[in-house]
Symmetry: C2
Subunit: 218 residues, 2 copies
DNA sequence: TCCGTTGTTCGTACATGTACATTACAATGT
DNA sequence: ACATTGTAATGTACATGTACGAACAACGGA
Protein backbone atom coordinates (compact mmCIF):
# COMPACT_ATOMS: atom_id res chain seq x y z
CA UNK A 1 0.00 0.00 0.00
CA UNK A 2 2.76 2.44 0.89
CA UNK A 3 6.18 1.32 -0.29
CA UNK A 4 6.30 -0.20 -3.76
CA UNK A 5 10.01 0.57 -3.76
CA UNK A 6 11.53 -2.28 -5.72
CA UNK A 7 8.83 -4.88 -5.20
CA UNK A 8 11.14 -7.81 -5.59
CA UNK A 9 9.75 -11.27 -5.77
CA UNK A 10 10.87 -11.79 -2.22
CA UNK A 11 8.89 -8.78 -1.16
CA UNK A 12 5.81 -9.92 -2.98
CA UNK A 13 5.97 -13.27 -1.31
CA UNK A 14 6.28 -11.68 2.08
CA UNK A 15 3.38 -9.41 1.33
CA UNK A 16 1.31 -12.36 0.18
CA UNK A 17 2.19 -14.19 3.33
CA UNK A 18 1.25 -11.27 5.52
CA UNK A 19 -2.01 -10.93 3.66
CA UNK A 20 -2.96 -14.55 4.12
CA UNK A 21 -1.92 -14.34 7.73
CA UNK A 22 -4.18 -11.37 8.25
CA UNK A 23 -7.01 -13.22 6.57
CA UNK A 24 -6.47 -16.16 8.88
CA UNK A 25 -6.40 -13.86 11.86
CA UNK A 26 -9.64 -12.20 10.84
CA UNK A 27 -11.30 -15.57 10.41
CA UNK A 28 -10.00 -16.67 13.79
CA UNK A 29 -11.42 -13.52 15.33
CA UNK A 30 -14.78 -14.28 13.75
CA UNK A 31 -14.75 -17.83 14.98
CA UNK A 32 -13.96 -16.73 18.50
CA UNK A 33 -16.67 -14.11 18.40
CA UNK A 34 -19.21 -16.62 17.12
CA UNK A 35 -18.43 -19.74 19.09
CA UNK A 36 -16.20 -18.63 21.91
CA UNK A 37 -12.65 -19.50 22.58
CA UNK A 38 -13.21 -23.22 22.63
CA UNK A 39 -14.81 -22.96 19.21
CA UNK A 40 -11.54 -22.02 17.60
CA UNK A 41 -9.92 -25.11 16.11
CA UNK A 42 -7.27 -25.38 13.45
CA UNK A 43 -9.48 -27.44 11.20
CA UNK A 44 -12.46 -25.13 11.41
CA UNK A 45 -10.23 -22.14 10.84
CA UNK A 46 -8.67 -23.73 7.77
CA UNK A 47 -12.01 -24.68 6.32
CA UNK A 48 -13.23 -21.14 6.87
CA UNK A 49 -10.52 -19.66 4.67
CA UNK A 50 -10.45 -22.53 2.21
CA UNK A 51 -7.07 -23.99 3.06
CA UNK A 52 -6.06 -27.40 4.19
CA UNK A 53 -5.78 -27.71 7.95
CA UNK A 54 -2.04 -28.13 7.91
CA UNK A 55 -1.45 -24.99 5.92
CA UNK A 56 -2.29 -22.92 8.97
CA UNK A 57 0.98 -23.99 10.49
CA UNK A 58 2.85 -22.10 7.80
CA UNK A 59 1.56 -18.89 9.32
CA UNK A 60 1.33 -19.71 13.00
CA UNK A 61 3.62 -21.92 14.98
CA UNK A 62 0.80 -23.46 16.96
CA UNK A 63 -2.64 -22.76 18.30
CA UNK A 64 -1.24 -20.70 21.12
CA UNK A 65 0.32 -18.32 18.64
CA UNK A 66 -3.08 -17.64 17.12
CA UNK A 67 -4.58 -16.86 20.51
CA UNK A 68 -1.68 -14.57 21.28
CA UNK A 69 -2.03 -12.73 18.01
CA UNK A 70 -5.70 -12.14 18.69
CA UNK A 71 -5.01 -11.00 22.20
CA UNK A 72 -2.24 -8.67 21.06
CA UNK A 73 -4.67 -7.03 18.69
CA UNK A 74 -7.12 -6.49 21.48
CA UNK A 75 -4.49 -4.99 23.74
CA UNK A 76 -3.26 -2.65 21.05
CA UNK A 77 -6.72 -1.25 20.69
CA UNK A 78 -6.86 -0.86 24.46
CA UNK A 79 -3.58 1.02 24.41
CA UNK A 80 -4.93 3.39 21.77
CA UNK A 81 -8.02 3.99 23.88
CA UNK A 82 -5.89 4.65 26.93
CA UNK A 83 -3.57 6.98 25.07
CA UNK A 84 -6.51 9.00 23.83
CA UNK A 85 -8.23 9.80 27.09
CA UNK A 86 -5.77 11.02 29.67
CA UNK A 87 -6.70 13.57 32.32
CA UNK A 88 -4.30 16.45 32.85
CA UNK A 89 -3.72 15.71 36.51
CA UNK A 90 -0.97 13.07 36.70
CA UNK A 91 -2.49 11.12 39.58
CA UNK A 92 -5.93 11.19 38.00
CA UNK A 93 -4.38 9.99 34.74
CA UNK A 94 -2.69 7.13 36.51
CA UNK A 95 -5.86 6.11 38.27
CA UNK A 96 -7.96 6.43 35.13
CA UNK A 97 -5.48 4.23 33.35
CA UNK A 98 -5.62 1.53 35.98
CA UNK A 99 -9.39 1.44 36.08
CA UNK A 100 -9.58 1.26 32.29
CA UNK A 101 -6.98 -1.46 32.27
CA UNK A 102 -8.89 -3.45 34.85
CA UNK A 103 -12.19 -2.87 33.10
CA UNK A 104 -10.68 -4.17 29.89
CA UNK A 105 -9.44 -7.28 31.68
CA UNK A 106 -12.88 -7.96 33.10
CA UNK A 107 -14.57 -7.35 29.76
CA UNK A 108 -12.12 -9.50 27.81
CA UNK A 109 -11.17 -12.23 30.24
CA UNK A 110 -10.05 -14.63 27.53
CA UNK A 111 -7.65 -12.18 25.97
CA UNK A 112 -6.38 -11.12 29.38
CA UNK A 113 -5.86 -14.72 30.31
CA UNK A 114 -3.90 -15.64 27.21
CA UNK A 115 -1.62 -12.65 27.53
CA UNK A 116 -1.09 -12.50 31.28
CA UNK A 117 -2.02 -15.84 32.76
CA UNK A 118 -0.53 -18.49 30.52
CA UNK A 119 3.02 -19.66 30.27
CA UNK A 120 5.06 -18.76 27.26
CA UNK A 121 6.16 -22.36 27.17
CA UNK A 122 7.68 -21.59 23.81
CA UNK A 123 10.47 -19.56 25.31
CA UNK A 124 13.05 -19.82 22.60
CA UNK A 125 15.31 -17.19 24.05
CA UNK A 126 16.13 -16.11 20.53
CA UNK A 127 12.66 -14.71 20.07
CA UNK A 128 12.01 -11.92 22.49
CA UNK A 129 8.32 -12.72 22.69
CA UNK A 130 8.32 -13.34 26.37
CA UNK A 131 8.76 -9.92 27.94
CA UNK A 132 5.34 -8.52 28.68
CA UNK A 133 6.71 -4.98 28.88
CA UNK A 134 7.70 -5.27 25.24
CA UNK A 135 4.65 -7.14 24.09
CA UNK A 136 2.12 -5.05 25.84
CA UNK A 137 1.78 -1.39 24.98
CA UNK A 138 -0.29 -0.78 28.09
CA UNK A 139 2.68 -1.42 30.30
CA UNK A 140 4.69 1.12 28.39
CA UNK A 141 2.00 3.69 29.08
CA UNK A 142 2.00 2.76 32.73
CA UNK A 143 5.65 3.69 32.96
CA UNK A 144 4.94 7.06 31.39
CA UNK A 145 2.08 7.81 33.76
CA UNK A 146 4.12 6.83 36.77
CA UNK A 147 6.99 8.97 35.57
CA UNK A 148 4.61 11.90 35.22
CA UNK A 149 3.47 11.45 38.81
CA UNK A 150 7.05 11.35 39.98
CA UNK A 151 7.88 14.48 38.02
CA UNK A 152 4.95 16.18 39.70
CA UNK A 153 6.30 15.16 43.07
CA UNK A 154 3.31 13.01 43.96
CA UNK A 155 5.42 9.93 44.53
CA UNK A 156 9.04 9.17 45.15
CA UNK A 157 11.10 6.14 44.36
CA UNK A 158 12.23 4.02 41.47
CA UNK A 159 9.90 4.26 38.49
CA UNK A 160 10.38 0.72 37.30
CA UNK A 161 9.88 -0.78 40.74
CA UNK A 162 6.87 1.42 41.34
CA UNK A 163 5.23 0.48 38.07
CA UNK A 164 5.99 -3.19 38.53
CA UNK A 165 4.41 -3.22 41.96
CA UNK A 166 1.38 -1.37 40.71
CA UNK A 167 1.03 -3.81 37.85
CA UNK A 168 1.46 -6.70 40.24
CA UNK A 169 -1.31 -5.48 42.53
CA UNK A 170 -3.62 -4.61 39.70
CA UNK A 171 -3.01 -7.90 38.02
CA UNK A 172 -3.67 -9.77 41.24
CA UNK A 173 -7.03 -8.13 41.64
CA UNK A 174 -8.07 -8.52 38.02
CA UNK A 175 -6.94 -12.11 37.72
CA UNK A 176 -8.69 -13.12 40.93
CA UNK A 177 -11.90 -11.47 39.80
CA UNK A 178 -11.63 -13.32 36.51
CA UNK A 179 -10.72 -16.69 37.94
CA UNK A 180 -13.12 -16.80 40.90
CA UNK A 181 -16.37 -15.23 39.86
CA UNK A 182 -18.12 -16.79 42.85
CA UNK A 183 -15.86 -15.47 45.58
CA UNK A 184 -17.59 -12.78 47.65
CA UNK A 185 -15.70 -9.78 46.38
CA UNK A 186 -18.81 -7.72 46.68
CA UNK A 187 -19.27 -5.05 44.05
CA UNK A 188 -16.45 -5.62 41.60
CA UNK A 189 -16.00 -1.99 40.70
CA UNK A 190 -15.88 -1.00 44.34
CA UNK A 191 -13.43 -3.74 45.09
CA UNK A 192 -11.20 -2.62 42.25
CA UNK A 193 -11.21 0.96 43.47
CA UNK A 194 -10.52 -0.09 47.03
CA UNK A 195 -7.66 -2.25 45.83
CA UNK A 196 -6.15 0.60 43.89
CA UNK A 197 -6.57 3.02 46.76
CA UNK A 198 -4.77 0.69 49.11
CA UNK A 199 -2.01 0.02 46.60
CA UNK A 200 -1.41 3.71 45.97
CA UNK A 201 -1.53 4.46 49.67
CA UNK A 202 1.05 1.78 50.29
CA UNK A 203 3.32 3.08 47.57
CA UNK A 204 3.02 6.56 49.00
CA UNK A 205 3.68 5.47 52.57
CA UNK A 206 6.48 3.10 51.67
CA UNK A 207 8.57 4.53 48.80
CA UNK A 208 10.33 1.82 46.88
CA UNK A 209 13.96 1.57 45.92
CA UNK A 210 15.20 0.16 42.65
CA UNK A 211 14.88 -3.55 41.96
CA UNK A 212 17.65 -6.11 41.51
CA UNK A 213 19.90 -5.05 44.35
CA UNK A 214 22.07 -8.14 43.93
CA UNK A 215 21.51 -10.82 41.39
CA UNK A 216 22.44 -11.46 37.82
CA UNK A 217 19.92 -12.53 35.24
CA UNK A 218 20.68 -15.89 33.72
CA UNK B 1 -9.99 -48.65 59.63
CA UNK B 2 -12.03 -46.98 62.32
CA UNK B 3 -15.73 -47.63 61.97
CA UNK B 4 -16.67 -51.19 61.11
CA UNK B 5 -20.08 -50.38 62.50
CA UNK B 6 -22.46 -52.26 60.26
CA UNK B 7 -20.21 -52.59 57.22
CA UNK B 8 -23.05 -52.85 54.82
CA UNK B 9 -22.40 -53.85 51.26
CA UNK B 10 -22.95 -50.28 50.25
CA UNK B 11 -20.26 -49.17 52.62
CA UNK B 12 -17.81 -51.75 51.39
CA UNK B 13 -18.32 -50.63 47.83
CA UNK B 14 -17.70 -47.04 48.76
CA UNK B 15 -14.58 -48.00 50.64
CA UNK B 16 -13.35 -49.99 47.67
CA UNK B 17 -13.99 -47.04 45.43
CA UNK B 18 -12.12 -44.67 47.69
CA UNK B 19 -9.23 -47.11 47.81
CA UNK B 20 -8.96 -47.36 44.06
CA UNK B 21 -9.27 -43.61 43.80
CA UNK B 22 -6.41 -43.16 46.20
CA UNK B 23 -4.34 -45.63 44.22
CA UNK B 24 -5.04 -43.71 41.04
CA UNK B 25 -4.11 -40.47 42.75
CA UNK B 26 -0.84 -41.89 43.98
CA UNK B 27 0.00 -43.14 40.51
CA UNK B 28 -0.88 -39.77 39.05
CA UNK B 29 1.40 -38.11 41.58
CA UNK B 30 4.21 -40.45 40.58
CA UNK B 31 3.70 -39.76 36.91
CA UNK B 32 3.79 -36.03 37.44
CA UNK B 33 6.90 -36.31 39.56
CA UNK B 34 8.61 -38.44 36.93
CA UNK B 35 7.58 -36.84 33.68
CA UNK B 36 6.17 -33.48 34.60
CA UNK B 37 2.69 -32.18 34.24
CA UNK B 38 2.47 -32.81 30.52
CA UNK B 39 3.47 -36.41 31.14
CA UNK B 40 0.21 -37.15 32.92
CA UNK B 41 -2.20 -38.71 30.46
CA UNK B 42 -5.28 -40.75 31.11
CA UNK B 43 -3.95 -43.69 29.15
CA UNK B 44 -0.60 -43.80 30.88
CA UNK B 45 -2.26 -43.44 34.24
CA UNK B 46 -4.63 -46.29 33.50
CA UNK B 47 -1.86 -48.54 32.29
CA UNK B 48 0.12 -47.74 35.43
CA UNK B 49 -2.59 -49.09 37.71
CA UNK B 50 -3.66 -51.89 35.38
CA UNK B 51 -7.07 -50.59 34.40
CA UNK B 52 -8.50 -49.76 31.04
CA UNK B 53 -8.16 -46.11 30.12
CA UNK B 54 -11.85 -45.43 30.37
CA UNK B 55 -12.09 -46.77 33.87
CA UNK B 56 -10.35 -43.69 35.16
CA UNK B 57 -13.48 -41.75 34.40
CA UNK B 58 -15.34 -43.72 37.03
CA UNK B 59 -13.24 -42.01 39.66
CA UNK B 60 -12.51 -38.60 38.19
CA UNK B 61 -14.82 -36.50 36.09
CA UNK B 62 -12.06 -35.42 33.74
CA UNK B 63 -8.38 -34.73 33.60
CA UNK B 64 -8.84 -31.41 35.30
CA UNK B 65 -10.27 -33.14 38.32
CA UNK B 66 -7.12 -35.23 38.68
CA UNK B 67 -4.93 -32.16 38.55
CA UNK B 68 -7.11 -30.47 41.12
CA UNK B 69 -6.97 -33.44 43.44
CA UNK B 70 -3.19 -33.48 43.24
CA UNK B 71 -3.00 -29.76 43.85
CA UNK B 72 -5.38 -29.97 46.77
CA UNK B 73 -3.13 -32.54 48.37
CA UNK B 74 -0.16 -30.25 47.96
CA UNK B 75 -2.00 -27.32 49.47
CA UNK B 76 -3.16 -29.33 52.42
CA UNK B 77 0.40 -30.22 53.26
CA UNK B 78 1.29 -26.55 52.93
CA UNK B 79 -1.48 -25.66 55.34
CA UNK B 80 -0.16 -28.14 57.86
CA UNK B 81 3.31 -26.67 57.53
CA UNK B 82 1.94 -23.18 57.99
CA UNK B 83 -0.13 -24.16 60.98
CA UNK B 84 2.91 -25.71 62.63
CA UNK B 85 5.32 -22.80 62.54
CA UNK B 86 3.66 -19.62 63.69
CA UNK B 87 5.55 -16.91 65.54
CA UNK B 88 3.93 -15.50 68.67
CA UNK B 89 3.89 -11.95 67.41
CA UNK B 90 0.72 -11.53 65.29
CA UNK B 91 2.30 -9.34 62.64
CA UNK B 92 5.34 -11.58 62.36
CA UNK B 93 3.03 -14.57 62.06
CA UNK B 94 1.11 -12.90 59.27
CA UNK B 95 4.26 -12.00 57.39
CA UNK B 96 5.77 -15.43 57.90
CA UNK B 97 2.63 -16.94 56.53
CA UNK B 98 2.67 -14.80 53.44
CA UNK B 99 6.30 -15.50 52.67
CA UNK B 100 5.76 -19.23 53.12
CA UNK B 101 2.69 -19.08 50.94
CA UNK B 102 4.57 -17.27 48.22
CA UNK B 103 7.55 -19.58 48.51
CA UNK B 104 5.25 -22.54 48.09
CA UNK B 105 3.74 -20.99 44.99
CA UNK B 106 7.15 -20.43 43.47
CA UNK B 107 8.31 -23.93 44.34
CA UNK B 108 5.15 -25.60 43.06
CA UNK B 109 4.11 -23.44 40.16
CA UNK B 110 2.06 -26.15 38.49
CA UNK B 111 -0.01 -26.82 41.54
CA UNK B 112 -0.42 -23.12 42.19
CA UNK B 113 -1.50 -22.60 38.63
CA UNK B 114 -4.12 -25.32 38.64
CA UNK B 115 -5.66 -24.12 41.88
CA UNK B 116 -5.45 -20.35 41.46
CA UNK B 117 -4.98 -19.59 37.81
CA UNK B 118 -7.38 -21.79 35.90
CA UNK B 119 -11.09 -21.45 35.45
CA UNK B 120 -13.41 -23.80 37.20
CA UNK B 121 -15.21 -24.11 33.91
CA UNK B 122 -17.10 -26.98 35.48
CA UNK B 123 -19.14 -24.68 37.64
CA UNK B 124 -22.14 -26.83 38.33
CA UNK B 125 -23.55 -24.58 41.03
CA UNK B 126 -24.70 -27.68 42.84
CA UNK B 127 -21.16 -28.59 43.69
CA UNK B 128 -19.55 -25.96 45.86
CA UNK B 129 -16.11 -26.68 44.47
CA UNK B 130 -15.55 -23.20 43.20
CA UNK B 131 -15.01 -21.14 46.33
CA UNK B 132 -11.31 -20.97 47.00
CA UNK B 133 -11.85 -20.00 50.60
CA UNK B 134 -13.52 -23.34 51.17
CA UNK B 135 -11.20 -25.39 49.02
CA UNK B 136 -7.99 -23.93 50.23
CA UNK B 137 -7.03 -24.31 53.87
CA UNK B 138 -4.35 -21.67 53.52
CA UNK B 139 -6.96 -18.99 53.03
CA UNK B 140 -8.69 -20.06 56.21
CA UNK B 141 -5.45 -19.59 58.09
CA UNK B 142 -4.99 -16.19 56.55
CA UNK B 143 -8.26 -15.07 58.04
CA UNK B 144 -7.14 -16.27 61.46
CA UNK B 145 -3.82 -14.46 61.25
CA UNK B 146 -5.46 -11.25 60.14
CA UNK B 147 -7.97 -11.53 62.93
CA UNK B 148 -5.13 -11.95 65.41
CA UNK B 149 -3.50 -8.78 64.14
CA UNK B 150 -6.76 -6.90 64.47
CA UNK B 151 -7.25 -8.20 67.98
CA UNK B 152 -3.76 -6.94 68.81
CA UNK B 153 -4.69 -3.54 67.46
CA UNK B 154 -2.10 -3.62 64.68
CA UNK B 155 -4.67 -3.06 62.01
CA UNK B 156 -8.21 -1.80 61.79
CA UNK B 157 -10.94 -2.55 59.37
CA UNK B 158 -13.00 -5.40 58.03
CA UNK B 159 -11.24 -8.74 58.39
CA UNK B 160 -12.65 -10.30 55.26
CA UNK B 161 -11.87 -7.27 53.11
CA UNK B 162 -8.40 -7.03 54.59
CA UNK B 163 -7.60 -10.67 53.96
CA UNK B 164 -9.02 -10.57 50.46
CA UNK B 165 -6.90 -7.58 49.53
CA UNK B 166 -3.82 -9.18 51.02
CA UNK B 167 -4.52 -12.35 49.10
CA UNK B 168 -5.10 -10.36 45.95
CA UNK B 169 -1.78 -8.55 46.24
CA UNK B 170 0.13 -11.65 47.18
CA UNK B 171 -1.45 -13.60 44.40
CA UNK B 172 -0.62 -10.89 41.90
CA UNK B 173 3.02 -10.98 42.83
CA UNK B 174 3.28 -14.76 42.90
CA UNK B 175 1.41 -15.30 39.67
CA UNK B 176 3.44 -12.71 37.81
CA UNK B 177 6.67 -14.24 39.04
CA UNK B 178 5.43 -17.62 37.88
CA UNK B 179 4.11 -16.52 34.53
CA UNK B 180 6.92 -14.17 33.46
CA UNK B 181 10.20 -15.63 34.60
CA UNK B 182 12.08 -13.32 32.23
CA UNK B 183 10.66 -10.02 33.43
CA UNK B 184 13.27 -8.01 35.35
CA UNK B 185 11.85 -8.43 38.82
CA UNK B 186 15.34 -8.51 40.23
CA UNK B 187 15.86 -10.76 43.19
CA UNK B 188 12.60 -12.63 43.56
CA UNK B 189 12.76 -12.89 47.31
CA UNK B 190 13.50 -9.21 47.67
CA UNK B 191 10.70 -8.36 45.30
CA UNK B 192 8.29 -10.47 47.29
CA UNK B 193 9.27 -8.81 50.54
CA UNK B 194 9.01 -5.38 49.02
CA UNK B 195 5.60 -6.23 47.65
CA UNK B 196 4.40 -7.40 51.03
CA UNK B 197 5.81 -4.37 52.78
CA UNK B 198 4.01 -2.04 50.43
CA UNK B 199 0.78 -3.98 50.72
CA UNK B 200 0.85 -3.97 54.50
CA UNK B 201 1.79 -0.29 54.56
CA UNK B 202 -1.14 0.47 52.30
CA UNK B 203 -3.54 -1.51 54.45
CA UNK B 204 -2.25 0.29 57.52
CA UNK B 205 -2.50 3.73 55.95
CA UNK B 206 -5.84 3.12 54.31
CA UNK B 207 -8.06 0.99 56.57
CA UNK B 208 -10.68 -0.87 54.60
CA UNK B 209 -14.39 -1.07 55.19
CA UNK B 210 -16.46 -4.18 54.61
CA UNK B 211 -17.05 -5.45 51.10
CA UNK B 212 -20.32 -5.68 49.17
CA UNK B 213 -21.77 -2.29 50.12
CA UNK B 214 -24.57 -2.61 47.57
CA UNK B 215 -25.06 -5.56 45.26
CA UNK B 216 -26.78 -8.87 45.33
CA UNK B 217 -25.07 -12.02 44.21
CA UNK B 218 -26.80 -13.60 41.22
C1' DT C 1 18.54 -22.14 -20.18
C1' DC C 2 18.88 -25.71 -16.66
C1' DC C 3 19.57 -27.59 -12.15
C1' DG C 4 19.95 -27.32 -7.20
C1' DT C 5 17.90 -24.85 -3.27
C1' DT C 6 14.39 -23.18 -0.59
C1' DG C 7 9.96 -22.31 1.05
C1' DT C 8 4.76 -23.45 0.65
C1' DT C 9 1.05 -26.55 0.80
C1' DC C 10 -0.98 -30.49 2.40
C1' DG C 11 -1.85 -35.77 3.12
C1' DT C 12 -1.04 -39.10 6.50
C1' DA C 13 -0.36 -40.71 10.98
C1' DC C 14 -0.15 -40.66 15.89
C1' DA C 15 -1.32 -39.35 20.76
C1' DT C 16 -4.64 -37.50 23.33
C1' DG C 17 -9.28 -36.29 25.85
C1' DT C 18 -13.72 -37.84 26.09
C1' DA C 19 -18.78 -39.07 24.54
C1' DC C 20 -21.58 -43.06 23.77
C1' DA C 21 -23.03 -47.73 24.06
C1' DT C 22 -22.33 -52.26 25.65
C1' DT C 23 -21.15 -55.87 28.79
C1' DA C 24 -20.17 -58.11 33.39
C1' DC C 25 -21.53 -58.41 37.84
C1' DA C 26 -23.22 -57.76 42.35
C1' DA C 27 -26.94 -56.24 45.36
C1' DT C 28 -31.71 -56.39 46.11
C1' DG C 29 -36.58 -57.49 46.10
C1' DT C 30 -40.01 -61.11 45.32
C1' DA D 1 -33.98 -69.23 43.43
C1' DC D 2 -34.78 -66.09 40.08
C1' DA D 3 -35.55 -61.72 37.82
C1' DT D 4 -34.49 -56.87 38.13
C1' DT D 5 -31.74 -53.10 38.53
C1' DG D 6 -28.02 -50.12 39.17
C1' DT D 7 -23.13 -49.48 38.79
C1' DA D 8 -18.47 -50.40 37.46
C1' DA D 9 -15.53 -51.49 33.59
C1' DT D 10 -14.57 -51.44 29.11
C1' DG D 11 -14.58 -51.10 23.79
C1' DT D 12 -15.33 -48.21 20.04
C1' DA D 13 -15.43 -43.94 17.84
C1' DC D 14 -14.64 -39.15 17.09
C1' DA D 15 -12.46 -34.44 17.33
C1' DT D 16 -8.48 -32.35 18.17
C1' DG D 17 -3.29 -30.67 18.09
C1' DT D 18 0.65 -31.50 15.74
C1' DA D 19 5.02 -34.14 13.91
C1' DC D 20 6.80 -36.03 9.64
C1' DG D 21 7.67 -35.96 5.13
C1' DA D 22 6.21 -35.83 0.15
C1' DA D 23 4.85 -33.04 -3.82
C1' DC D 24 5.35 -28.86 -5.93
C1' DA D 25 6.40 -24.13 -7.22
C1' DA D 26 9.39 -20.18 -7.16
C1' DC D 27 13.80 -18.59 -7.22
C1' DG D 28 18.89 -17.96 -7.91
C1' DG D 29 23.21 -19.09 -9.80
C1' DA D 30 25.83 -21.92 -13.51
Amino acid sequence: MSKPKSMSAQDRRERQKAEVRAELLAAAHELVREEGYEGLTIRKLAKRVGYAPMSVYSYFADKHAILHAIADDAFESLARRLEAQAPKEPLAALRKMMTEYAAFGLENPNEYRTVFMTDDHTHDPGQSIAEPEKRNPALQLLLKRVQACMDAGIFQGDVHAFATLLWSFGHGTVSLLITFPHYPFGDRQKFLEMSMDVALAGLKAHPVGPLTPPEERC
